[in-house]
C-alpha cells in the first residue's frame, strides 16, 4: 500500500531516558508536596474513613451519625447476602458481554479502516462522537429510543418484525442486553481506535512477506496482524474492563437496576444500600471490597503496561 504513513510503535516503545539524581531529593519533594497533600486529604483520608465505618453499624435513617462498633458483621452480612452475589454475577455478565462485543466490533472496524486509503482521519473523528457523550446522556438516548410507545428503535424493531418484546427495558431477559448494547454503542469506537493504532505499527515488510508467501487477506489477518497486535488487544480489553467495572450512569437512567434487580450492577447495589437504605456501615463495607478488588486489577494492568521511566 503506497503512500501509507507508518507511525512509531505505540506499545512497548522505549521512552526517552530521563534518569534523575539523588542529590535533588529536596527539590523533588517540594514539587511533589502539593499533590501528595491533596491526594492524602481527598483520597487516602476518605478511604481510611470508609474502612473505619465499614466496621460500624452506621445507619443514617435510624441513628443518624451515631454508630456502634460491630466488628466484621457488615462483611459477614454482605458475603452471605444473595443480592450481593447476584449483583456480582450481573456485573460479571455485563463486563464480559460488553467488552467482548466491543473488542470484536473494534477489531472489525479497525481492520476495515486499515484497508482504506482516503478518509480514514475523517472517519475516526466521526466515530469518536459516542465515547465523548456523557454516559448519562447515552442512557437517556437509548431510554428514549427504546420507549415502548413512541421510541424510534422500538418502531424499527416492530417494522423489521424482530422477535423482541415491545417493552425491552422492563423485560427480564432483555433489560441487561439493552444496558450492554448502550455500552457497546458508546465504547466500540474506542476499541477501534486502539486496535487501529496497533495495526498501523505493523511493519509493511511483514505484511508483504506474508503476501509473497501466498497468504490471502484472511490469512494475513489471522496469522500476522492479530498475533502482532495481541498486547494491544489485551491492554485495550483490560482498560475497558476496568472502566466497565465503574459503570453506574447507564443502568441508573436506563433501567434503574430493574426490572426487579435484573440490571443491578455492583455500583448500583452499593448506591442503593448506602443512599436508599442509608445503611452506611454495609455500604462502606461493599465499597472497601470493591476498592481491594480495584487495587488488584490496577496491579495487573500496571504489570502489563509498557515500562515507564518512573
Amino acid at each position: 500500500m503506497p503512500g501509507r504513513s507508518r507511525k512509531e510503535p505505540a506499545v512497548g516503545q522505549a521512552r526517552p531516558s530521563t534518569g534523575g539524581n539523588y542529590s535533588h531529593v529536596g527539590t523533588a519533594i517540594s514539587f511533589h508536596l502539593p499533590a501528595w497533600i491533596t491526594l492524602i486529604l481527598i483520597i487516602a483520608l476518605p478511604v481510611g474513613a470508609a474502612a473505619y465505618f465499614s466496621f460500624s453499624n452506621m445507619n443514617l435513617m435510624q441513628t443518624g451519625l451515631q454508630y456502634r462498633w460491630v466488628g466484621l458483621d457488615n462483611y459477614r452480612y454482605i458475603l452471605l447476602d444473595p443480592r450481593f452475589w447476584e449483583s456480582v454475577r450481573i456485573t460479571a455478565v455485563f463486563i464480559f458481554g460488553a467488552v467482548s462485543l466491543e473488542l470484536l466490533g473494534g477489531i472489525g472496524i479497525a481492520l476495515l479502516l486499515d484497508a482504506i486509503r482516503f478518509g480514514r482521519r475523517l472517519y475516526t473523528s466521526l466515530i469518536m462522537v459516542p465515547m465523548l457523550l456523557a454516559p448519562l446522556v447515552v442512557g437517556l438516548t437509548w431510554n428514549f429510543l427504546l420507549n415502548p410507545q413512541f421510541g424510534a428503535a422500538t418502531w424499527a424493531i416492530h417494522k423489521l418484525g424482530l422477535p423482541l418484546p415491545p417493552s425491552i427495558l422492563t423485560d427480564l431477559r432483555f433489560a441487561l442486553p439493552a444496558v450492554i448494547l448502550s455500552d457497546v454503542w458508546e465504547w466500540t469506537p474506542f476499541m477501534a481506535l486502539i486496535v487501529l493504532a496497533g495495526l498501523q505499527t505493523i511493519p509493511l515488510g511483514l505484511l508483504d512477506a506474508a503476501r509473497v508467501d501466498g497468504a490471502n487477506v484472511w490469512q494475513v489477518i489471522w496469522t500476522v496482524k492479530l498475533p502482532v497486535i495481541r498486547p494491544i488487544l489485551i491492554i485495550g480489553s483490560f482498560i475497558r474492563g476496568i472502566d466497565a467495572f465503574r459503570i453506574f450512569d447507564i443502568p441508573y437512567i436506563l433501567t434503574g437496576g430493574g426490572p426487579g434487580s435484573a440490571t443491578e450492577i455492583i455500583d448500583l447495589f452499593t448506591y442503593r444500600t448506602a443512599f436508599k437504605s442509608w445503611e452506611m456501615g454495609k455500604g462502606t463495607a461493599v465499597g472497601i471490597v470493591l476498592f481491594i478488588l480495584n487495587v488488584m486489577l490496577a496491579f495487573v494492568l500496571y504489570r502489563w503496561m509498557p515500562k515507564r521511566e518512573a
Binding site: 491526594l39 481527598i42 479502516l113 459516542p130 446522556v137 437517556l140 438516548t141
Partner: protein, 279 residues
C-alpha cells in the same frame, strides 16, 4: 487477467467503504436523533411512525433553560469543571514534572498508587466523601463537587503530563541549570512552555471528565448546586417525561464537549488509556 484482478480489488474497496458507511450511520444516528428531537414540538416528538418532516422549534430550549432554570445548572457545571481542572493542573503539573525529572525512592510505587486512584469506582469514594462533607457542613456547595472531581482529575493530570514532560529533552533542563536558573524557574520558564499543547489537551480532557460526571455530583449537590446532568431527571416525572426538553438539555451537555474534544482528539486515546497507548 490483470484487469479483472484490478476490478475485483475495486469492488472490494467499494464494499469496505459501504460497510464503514453503514457502521458510521449506526454509531451516529442515535445521537443525531437526540439532537433532532430537541427541535421538535411535543406532538412531533411522540409521533408514530417517527416524523422526519416537522416544523423546527426552539421551545424545548427556552422552556428548559429559561422557564425551568436549567441556565443556573449550566452555570454550576461550568464552575465545577473549571475549578476542578484548575486545581488538578496547578497541583498535578509540578508533580508530573518531578516524576519525569527526578528519582525518589519508592517512585514506582507512588506512580502505581496514582493509577489506583484514577481507577477507583466513584461509588467507593462517594460514601466517605458524603460523610465527610456532611460533617464539615459542605453538602450542596460547589466546593464539595469540585473536591470530588479532583479525585479523578488530579491523577489524570499527573499521568498525562508526565508523558509530555518525558518527551522534552533533558538537555533543556541542564542548559537552564548551567545558566543559573533555580529548579522552579527551569520548570516554569523553560520546560513548561514546551508542553503547552499537551497541557491544553490535559486541561480540556479533565474539564470534560468533570462535565460528564454524574454520581459524585448527584450525591454531593443540592438544589442550588446541581449540575446539568444531575438536573435532567427533574424532567422525568411520574406524570411523564418531557423528552423534548431532555433532548435539549442533552444536546447542550454534549455539543461543547464534542467541540472541545475535537481540538485535542489526537491526545484522546492517550488520556483514556492512562497513557498506555499512544495513538
Amino acid at each position: 487477467m490483470i484487469l479483472s484482478e484490478r476490478s475485483r480489488q475495486r469492488a472490494s474497496t467499494i464494499t469496505v467503504y459501504v460497510v464503514l458507511g453503514l457502521l458510521a450511520v449506526a454509531l451516529l444516528l442515535p445521537y443525531l436523533w437526540l439532537i433532532i428531537t430537541s427541535f421538535k414540538s411535543r406532538v412531533d416528538t411522540f409521533a408514530i411512525p417517527p416524523s422526519l418532516t416537522f416544523q423546527p422549534t426552539l421551545d424545548n430550549y427556552t422552556t428548559a433553560f429559561i422557564t425551568k432554570g436549567f441556565l443556573s445548572n449550566l452555570k454550576n457545571s461550568v464552575i465545577v469543571a473549571a475549578f476542578s481542572t484548575l486545581i488538578s493542573v496547578v497541583v498535578g503539573v509540578p508533580s508530573a514534572y518531578a516524576f519525569s525529572r527526578y528519582r525518589l525512592p519508592g517512585q514506582e510505587q507512588q506512580f502505581f498508587l496514582i493509577l489506583v486512584t484514577r481507577m477507583t469506582p466513584p461509588v467507593v469514594l462517594v460514601l466517605p466523601l458524603y460523610l465527610l462533607m456532611a460533617r464539615l457542613d459542605l453538602l450542596d456547595t460547589h466546593l464539595a463537587i469540585i473536591i470530588a472531581h479532583t479525585t479523578f482529575n488530579l491523577p489524570l493530570v499527573i499521568w498525562m503530563m508526565k508523558g509530555f514532560f518525558d518527551s522534552v529533552p533533558k538537555e533543556i533542563d541542564e542548559a537552564g541549570m548551567v545558566d543559573g536558573c533555580s529548579p522552579m524557574m527551569t520548570f516554569l520558564r523553560l520546560v513548561l512552555p514546551l508542553t503547552v499543547g499537551g497541557l491544553a489537551a490535559t486541561a480540556i480532557l479533565s474539564a470534560v471528565f468533570s462535565w460528564n460526571e454524574f454520581l459524585f455530583a448527584l450525591i454531593l449537590s443540592g438544589r442550588g448546586t446541581a449540575t446539568l446532568l444531575v438536573a435532567v431527571p427533574r424532567l422525568m416525572t411520574i406524570a411523564g417525561t418531557f423528552w423534548g426538553q431532555v433532548a435539549a438539555v442533552g444536546t447542550v451537555i454534549t455539543l461543547p464537549v464534542l467541540a472541545f474534544a475535537f481540538t485535542v482528539q489526537r491526545y484522546l486515546v492517550t488520556g483514556l488509556t492512562f497513557g498506555a497507548i499512544n495513538e
